[in-house]
Amino acid sequence: MKALLYLDVHIFKNTVIATLKNPKQIIPAIFMGSLFLFPLITIYSIDAPLMAAPYTTETVKPIIFSFLTFITWITVIHSTTKNTLVFSLPEIDFLFPSPLKRKVILFNRVATNYLKLAVQYAAMAGFFLFVFSSLYHFVFWPRILFLWLAILMSMIFASNLGGIVSLVSSHFSELKRSRNRNILILVLASFLGIISGYIFWQVFQGIPVVQAVINVLNSSVVRILMYPMAAASDVAVAWRLTVGVGLKLLFLIVLCVVTTIGVLSVETHFYEASEAISRELWESVHKMRRQEVVVSESFVKKMRKIRPFGDRATALIWKNLVGMIRDIRSLLPTVFMAIFLFAMTFFRGGEFFNALFFLFFLVFISSGYVRWDFREDLRRIEIIKLIPDSNFRIVLSEIAVPILFSTVVSYIFLGVTFFAFPHSESKLVLTGFSVVALPLFSVVMVTISNLSTLYYPPQTNSQVIPGVLSLIFTMMVLTPSLFLLMLFIVLDKMYLGLLSVLLLNAAIAFALIKLLARKYRFFDLTSS
């Protein structure tokens, strides 16, 4: 145990020091921190007028109750077939073969997990409650304590329950585990069926749907069936410590202690099962970090083959095109998103001008999803660098496919929008503008994403920061265009404004591509 304490303390200490020492980590961390702190300080500083809270305790409580119940069910069902005790690879390689008792290793994993959960939930609950308590003028303390304790205790309980189920299930065959999961799913489906029936019955009686849902979730039958979560939701919305709240809190603490003892006392050799799931998880996390594609072989077999084309750098266009078509992960969500967004815009109605915003948003989304450019090729950048062609041509070939995809998709919807919306004076001009502006916007978006990937490769950096910086850079690049357009609209010279925006964006797109070519020329993954 002494060795594990030494390990935990040194990992924590070194993580803090490494973060503080590395400007690549500390600057984005300060930026992210200020993103959260700025609204908090603003809300706290301003003397906001008294506002009526949109939700009462009676409506918040069922929301918390249903959320906690959902998490618990999912955890338990997942635990029947998958081991929920996930260890890191160093733990597997160095702790599993060591003479430490299995239960000590398990306790260390469980305890550090709970500590992390406690900190995360404290930060999350603190942030949201602070915002709401400042806006709606209610006391922050001790309410935060009750909310935090309730969520933490119920999550520990759910996690322990999952741990016990997975430890016990590890003795069973795959077939039996699968049967157990199906039984649990059936029980859950029946439970949800009864609740839905109850809600329908109330609605049939003339009660509004929202009120019917609240009534059912607050009903004694449902609360008794999921009592730990019901008790947690009562504690979560408590204002002060009363006997009832204290007893429920005590009940949750006892539940957590008992289930923790349960996890630690199940006699099982969990190493093998934990190793398998931990390695699987580690692999998938690394795949996500490296942003590797998920390709379905059966899907690929059904697809028509694209004949190879291109020479030197332009062969990359063929390679990326084939990849994009076979990569269901990026293709399907983009298509569904496009249809959904279009339907939303169409049903909302309004002017043709407003509908165009959807098309630009679609380009923004699709250039983020379809990553068949440097974002995908970063892992094989050494091979790409060997192509005997100019850097500019290589860069153009690399970014061609996402630009082509978002342009084609946006053109399809532009065509539909053109015919679906009623005729207006500016419709023809705006359509002409969009025909040029959409691919230009796509070039800007894709190039910025590629620049952020080369400056902050996902292999050596966290995922969130480059994304945020890329978004800020995009806003900086697009702001002049918006100002220009607004200026000309105010001057009642919209057409001239549109032309200026096109020229400005063409210049920006060219400058960004040149910058990307320069960055690519000096790019070295090992030093990034």
Partner: protein
């Protein structure tokens, strides 16, 4: 449709004190699973593992104190420094006064200049060297190595070979699983060839040559190719 895969089937062998024992076989033969069963990470469904007469399943901690395992891919704690990592492993195995031993190992594997560096700043080969140092820091009686030379520079490889020979001479047992057949041929006193989880041949190189009906000067590579191609 669920099917159970038997990674290792009816495999029985003994490694004596002072012996370097080679475990060879094609990919997926069950070598790593065998090593994991011996070091207590995987649990055999049948049979038992005895380490110096101690039943691993019954007296796990006692048996594990005598063992050390070097996995194929090194995954040390990235956020510890090299010396902290070795100190931590010494604490796991309750090594008294580990500093001189740590200094000696870091010198031997040319890691002394990196002792205050975080592990994540090391190259793959250096991480492998660190993992080997971790396995040696508590003077194990039985050393299990899974492809130990991958990524290691020639000087480091020589050092490791010398250490293994030295430890065997002191009476410790060493089990090496490797596809580098020249290494197995050079170092191992006896060899076990497994395929599809089953024992194909066991013995000295000479005995295996005989079993494979190979010439008396045939290399382990030739013998291995012959014996795994035509199971006897």
């Amino acid at each position: 449709m669920y099917k159970t895969v038997t990674a290792v089937d009816d495999l029985s062998f003994t490694v004596h004190d002072g012996e370097i024992f080679g475990l060879v076989g094609p990919n997926g033969a069950g070598k790593t699973t065998t090593l994991k069963c011996i070091c207590g990470v995987a649990l055999p469904t049948q049979g038992l593992v005895l380490v110096d007469g101690i039943n691993l399943q019954k007296e796990e901690q006692k048996a594990k104190e005598l063992l050390a395992f070097v996995p194929e891919t090194p995954n040390p704690y990235e956020i510890l420094t090299v010396s902290e990592h070795l100190k931590f492993i010494s604490m796991l195995y309750s090594v008294d006064n580990p500093e001189p031993k740590i200094e000696h190992l870091l010198n031997a594997f040319e890691l002394d200049g990196k002792k205050d560096n975080l592990v994540n700043s090391l190259s793959k080969g250096m991480k492998q060297k660190l993992t080997i140092c971790c396995a040696l820091v508590h003077d194990p009686h039985v050393l299990l190595l899974d492809e130990p030379l991958i990524g290691i520079d020639p000087r480091g490889a020589r050092t490791l070979k010398d250490i293994l020979i030295e430890r065997a001479a002191q009476g410790d047992s060493v089990i090496i699983s490797s596809h580098m057949l020249y290494l197995v041929e050079e170092l191992c006193h006896r060899i076990l060839i497994i395929d599809d989880g089953k024992k194909i041949a066991e013995g000295t190189l000479q005995e295996i040559r005989k079993k494979a009906l190979a010439s008396s000067d045939a290399s382990l590579e030739e013998v291995f190719l012959k014996i795994t191609e035509e199971p006897l």
